[in-house]
């Protein structure tokens, strides 16, 4: 049995109240790192996913429906606006210069499915919608969307090859989207012919969810990818000038607002984390200093029994490491237990795109938090360790120190 490890462990165990209090403190510090960093990283990942899936440069919606809040929700949260304009606007927009790709979408209110319920987005075809969803299609059966083919959001518990039933109509899942951290995760994409079939079936069942909506005649919004040789602003101005009763806007303008919010939220989280850590380190430092001070005679006994200054120093530091590492691991577990199950609630309360980082990123973060927690113990106890190891046992025993 080596003294350093064993005695440190016994000292930690022998002072349960003090050790537990310091472990809880370190746990709070570690949890703040894990929860804070996961929150900031998730917001950044969410923003990254948002940017990646912004295949469209410009979105055109009916002028009457275009409140800024609605537009932000559509772009940032993938929410649906239940507004419609005549399909002729699609042709008017398509006729303007500088448009490389164009896709119309029709938003329908929640449709009931056997497995789940979610809003429906309707695109003319997979090819048309490709530039708006291709960036985050995770698994695809390939080819165009045929009759009764659907592309589903990541949160829906169906997979490529499965079927999903709306109004007694079985639809084939041909692709599944990547997680976006927005309402798109519960959305379903399909084409015009399929939606016509679903509307007809709902009416046969006596449900009037979509009464008066004709997918051949109306659209909710038009998504545009601008040609490389045309500035987006130029095309935007042209559309706002020449396509009346519509409102066109740049999708990236919406992201700048999110970026600002993200910087603000990250800043607040960063300040809170710093405050927790500064306060925690001060308390740890004082606690270790007081503890070593009141046990000076004990360390003098170790010196008498043959412990070198270096060994005394190691004993103090390893005691601190046991406390902070144990507390740190508990804090990491607590942080994960807060963040992983409740990320949906956090996303909802923040109103920003929120996408948990990949498992390996979280694993690296947890390992980092454990190392930083242990380092906090080493740093906070370094002064006491150095001081006690430098004192002469003879002076301690005389009571001069």
């Amino acid at each position: 049995m080596k003294l350093t490890g064993s005695l440190s462990f016994r000292n930690v165990k022998g002072r349960p109240a003090r050790s537990l209090a310091l472990m809880i403190l370190t746990a709070i510090m570690a949890a703040s790192i894990v929860a804070g960093t996961i929150t900031v990283t998730s917001l950044k990942t969410g923003l990254g996913a948002l940017e990646a899936r912004l295949g469209a440069d410009i979105m055109v919606v009916p002028a009457s429906a275009a409140s800024k809040k609605d537009l932000e929700n559509i772009v940032l949260q993938g929410s649906m606006g239940y507004f419609y304009m005549d399909r002729s606007y699609y042709d008017k927009v398509a006729a303007r210069e500088g448009i490389e790709k164009i896709s119309a979408q029709l938003f329908l209110a929640s449709a009931s499915a056997v497995c789940c319920s979610g809003p429906l987005r309707v695109s003319g075809s997979a090819r048309e919608a490709e530039f708006t969803v291709a960036a985050w299609i995770r698994k695809s059966a390939g080819g165009e969307l045929g009759l009764l083919d659907v592309v589903v959001g990541n949160d829906l518990s169906v997979f490529v090859g499965d079927t999903i039933t709306f109004y007694n109509v079985k639809c084939n899942v041909v692709a599944k989207l990547d997680k976006t951290g927005t309402d798109l995760d519960t959305a379903v994409y399909t084409n015009t012919d399929t939606i016509k079939k679903l509307i007809a079936s709902s009416l046969e069942l006596g449900m009037n969810d979509f009464k008066g909506i004709d997918p051949d005649k109306v659209v909710s919004c038009i998504l545009i990818k601008v040609a490389d040789d045309h500035p987006v602003d130029e095309v935007l101005n042209d559309l706002n000038l020449h396509v009346r009763r519509t409102k066109s806007f740049k999708t990236k303008d919406m992201i700048s607002g999110v970026s600002d919010s993200l910087i603000g939220v990250s800043g607040i989280i960063g300040v809170l984390m710093c405050a927790v850590w500064v306060l925690g380190l001060v308390i740890l430092f004082l606690a270790f200093t007081l503890s070593v001070n009141e046990r000076k005679k004990e360390f003098a006994v170790l010196r008498i029994a043959g412990a070198s200054r270096r060994k005394i120093s190691r004993t103090v530091v390893s005691e601190a490491l046991i406390i902070t590492l144990t507390g740190g691991i508990a804090g990491i577990v607590a942080g994960l237990l807060i963040m992983l199950p409740f990320n949906g609630l956090i996303e909802e309360s923040m109103g920003l795109p929120f996408l948990l980082p990949q498992a390996w990123v979280i694993a690296v973060l947890c390992a980092g938090a454990a190392v930083v927690s242990a380092a906090a113990g080493a740093v906070a106890s370094a002064y006491s360790a150095r001081r006690i190891s430098r004192l002469d046992a003879g002076l301690i025993l005389r009571g001069d120190n």
Partner: protein, 227 residues
């Protein structure tokens, strides 16, 4: 092994106004003999404990040297001096000095917890139990120090000092705050230890200890004299 101190002195620097140098031990020569109980008496503050700590390798002197055989212990680096102290010197400090989180048996075997193999531990435990039996604390081996009386703690400290069968034992006021019965018990243990061939150097202001000593010194204001 002959233990001698030559021209050994210690000065402290006091914090505060006025004279800030204080000579605790004036230049001193002393020899400690094997198989003898050497007694150093004197009033509180006369420098007895300071001299003991310097002789035990626990407090570096301001001048002079402490020789164990041919070795000047204060020329050794801290690792070597610590190892030397562990192997050759036993110290019974003043007051209650224990590692509170270790049992009585572990406290006695402390130096083996610091440096020792599994075989060493087994042998140390056997010898520790023998010492505990001899000192009347055998039934306390698994107790924590907080459960022991002052006399029992002192006997435990003596056993701890003797666990490595050192060449010399330094005892600093080993009977202070003990009742008559325990005082006699402790003094007898130290006397018998010296009779067994170990050098014992005891600092005390207990007059009853005089009768147990083979060699007597007294100390006054940092100056030592033979009685």
């Amino acid at each position: 092994m002959t233990i001698t101190a030559n021209d050994l002195s210690k000065e402290f620097i006091r914090q505060g106004k006025g004279t800030n140098r204080f000579v605790a031990v004036k230049p001193t020569d002393i020899a400690i003999e094997q198989g003898k109980l050497t007694l150093l008496m004197g009033r509180s503050g006369s420098g007895k404990s300071t001299l003991l700590n310097m002789l035990a390798g626990l407090l570096a002197p301001t001048s002079g040297n402490v020789m164990y055989g041919d070795s000047d212990i204060y020329t050794l680096d801290d690792d070597k001096l610590s190892e030397f102290r562990m192997e050759h010197i036993g110290v019974i400090p003043q007051g209650q000095t224990v590692v509170g989180s270790l049992t009585v048996l572990e406290n006695i075997c402390l130096s083996y917890l610091i440096h020792g193999t599994a075989d060493d531990h087994a042998a140390a435990h056997t010898y520790a139990r023998e010492l505990m039996e001899r000192f009347g604390i055998a039934e306390l081996e698994n107790e924590l120090p907080s459960a022991l009386s002052g006399g029992e703690l002192r006997r435990m400290a003596i056993a701890r000092a003797m666990i490595r069968k050192p060449d010399v034992i330094f005892a600093d006021e080993p009977t202070c705050d003990l009742d008559d019965e325990n005082t006699e018990l402790v003094l007898n243990i130290l006397k018998n230890t010296a009779a067994g061939g170990t050098a014992v150097f005891m600092v005390t202001h207990e007059k009853d200890a005089v009768g147990y000593a083979d060699i007597r010194y007294s100390m006054n204001a940092g100056e030592i004299g033979r009685r």
